[in-house]
Amino acid sequence: MNKKRIVALGIAAMMLFGAFALTGCGSTQDSGDGVDGTTGELTGAINVEGSDTLVNVAGAWAEAFMTENPGVMVSVKGGGSGTGIAALINGTVDFADASRGIKDEEIEQAEAVGVTPVEHKVAIDGIAVVVNPANDVEDLTMEQLGKIYRGEITNWSEVGGADQAIVLLSRDSSSGTYEYFKEEVVAAEDENAEYAASAKLLPSNQAIADEVAANDGAIGYIGLGYLTDTVKVIAVDGVKASIETAMDGSYAISRYLYMYSNGELSGVMQAYMDWILGSDGQQIVADEGFVPLQ
């Protein structure tokens, strides 16, 4: 017992000492500035970090760009939009991928350390509303969809389906998709409206697709790239989500995906962004299941 007590006292003492001794550690690191070689060949290193939604596209971009420009090294990391923007503010990356717009608080933090975030729209994410193939419902209005997600409609029979409870599936509360869907659908009329508390918040697009495929009462929303034959796309206001309808603007539920840089681009970073926005980069966007900008 005595030894234990000494150890416990030790822990308490260490915690107290630690409180005074330790301070937050900040890291400052030079971003790998891309330099144009005199030969006209691109050289340099680009670090990209951020959104998990974008990570596959970003990886495919990096791979293709490096094949075309062997002198350039592009590294891509996921981790989330917040992680990427924080890394941009800390100066550890050149680009932050984000599936949501930068927040005012983050702009303030950036300006406080002399970083000027510049936004680049790089792709469009079309968000399809999906149900189980066994569900008879084919079409919902935006208003019905809002009511379903606010928990005001709880049975499929209220929207022309079978007498079956609706199982609400949503992305997790901090994902960009969650916030976008909330603004456009759930809180379209009343900005203080919330998702129904019973909505299940799943960690990924794939988890929603899997559960919709397995549960005949489920409804969910997923990125176009995650559509398979195991789920059925619901038309919203008469329009079904697809790359074409999202591109021509007739399908309403789609949002931009972003990359942020510190200040205006130059050198190899400018070349990389031009390439991403060009036909090669946008072809990769389409290949990965997102919607190209043009």
Partner: protein
């Protein structure tokens, strides 16, 4: 003759001195290693606390602990931990209901009844169970258990506290089993022999003598299993549906503290209020697991003392 014995003595003395010095250095290193663990633990607590400070200041610990709504990204953001704490409790309770009977039952069999070969095989398998990554348990749960729970209990969705709890229970069996088995082994054979000599059957011996004698160790095993279950993240995130409602039964979806932190940390604004609130949740979780482990350790120590003589 005399000179020679002197030099020998000197050489011996020199060797002893080197040995002593080496020993002192090694002792210092080992001592530092021991304290390092404590320093790391203290640093973790401090790190959590400094990052949680903003939410503790702006929202307040009592408001967070008693709040029943978790809407961290709303215009009118609310940071109530209660649904998350209750969610964690529900899942953990189910996990214990699974792991305690199975873990202790298996431990009794292995320690008291099993043949050596059976024991060796079982121990290897259990160690392997502990080594399987939690995301693999999660995947199995998604593929097998979610549909099974939905059909068996005629629910709308199979993503429930029950589903997560069952998987967590299976995951914490190795902890409960190995520590209970150690506790049963620590019971002196003289007690068993005495009991058998008095005419008790083997089962009576286990039931009336060995189990009560090992009870504090088994209690510690349960507590450590509890700590394992409450801190688990990935499998729960995949299986419980994560709806932040106050659950009323284990057949409802729940959101746990660990799952919330894991799902939201990547996307939040650094140093923002939401970020800080997640650290507060981490701090609460840290406090809970710290207390559980400490309690288990104290009980375990008592048991060790008891059989030392």
């Amino acid at each position: 003759m005399a000179a020679r014995s002197d030099s020998t003595r000197l050489r011996v003395l020199g060797r002893t001195a080197t040995r002593r010095a080496t020993e002192a250095v090694v002792r210092a290193i080992v001592f530092a290693c021991g304290w390092l663990a404590i320093v790391i633990l203290a640093a973790i607590a401090l790190f959590l606390f400094t990052n949680a400070l903003r939410s503790l200041d702006e929202v307040g610990l009592t408001t967070m602990l008693s709040g029943t709504a978790w809407y961290p990204t709303s215009n009118n953001a609310q940071f109530g931990f209660l649904p998350l704490i209750v969610g964690s409790l529900f899942v953990t309770t189910v996990a214990l209901a699974v792991s305690v009977p199975l873990g202790i039952g298996a431990a009794v069999y292995l320690a008291e009844f099993a043949h050596d070969t059976a024991r060796e095989v079982a121990k290897t398998v259990v160690e392997f169970m502990a080594a399987v990554p939690s995301v693999v348990y999660g995947l199995i749960g998604v593929a097998v258990l979610i549909p099974w729970v939905r059909v068996t209990f005629a629910l709308d969705s199979g993503m429930t506290a029950l589903t997560g709890g069952i998987v967590l229970g299976v995951m914490s069996i190795p902890t409960v089993l190995s520590i209970s088995e150690d506790a049963l082994h620590a019971v002196p054979d003289s007690l068993r022999q005495g009991s058998l000599a008095l005419g008790n059957t083997r089962w009576q011996t286990v039931h009336k003598v060995v189990l009560p004698a090992a009870s504090s160790g088994i209690f510690a095993a349960v507590m450590l299993g509890l700590g394992r279950a409450i801190g688990e993240t990935m499998a729960v995130l995949m299986l419980t549906g994560n709806a932040a409602v106050m659950p009323t039964s284990v057949f409802e979806s729940v959101r746990t503290m660990t799952g919330t932190i894991a799902a939201e940390m990547g996307e939040v604004v650094r140093k923002g209020l939401h970020y800080s609130a997640l650290f507060s949740a981490g701090l609460v979780l840290f406090a809970i697991t710290f207390i559980i482990n400490l309690a288990a350790d104290l009980v375990l120590e008592r048991q060790r003392k008891r059989w030392r003589r």
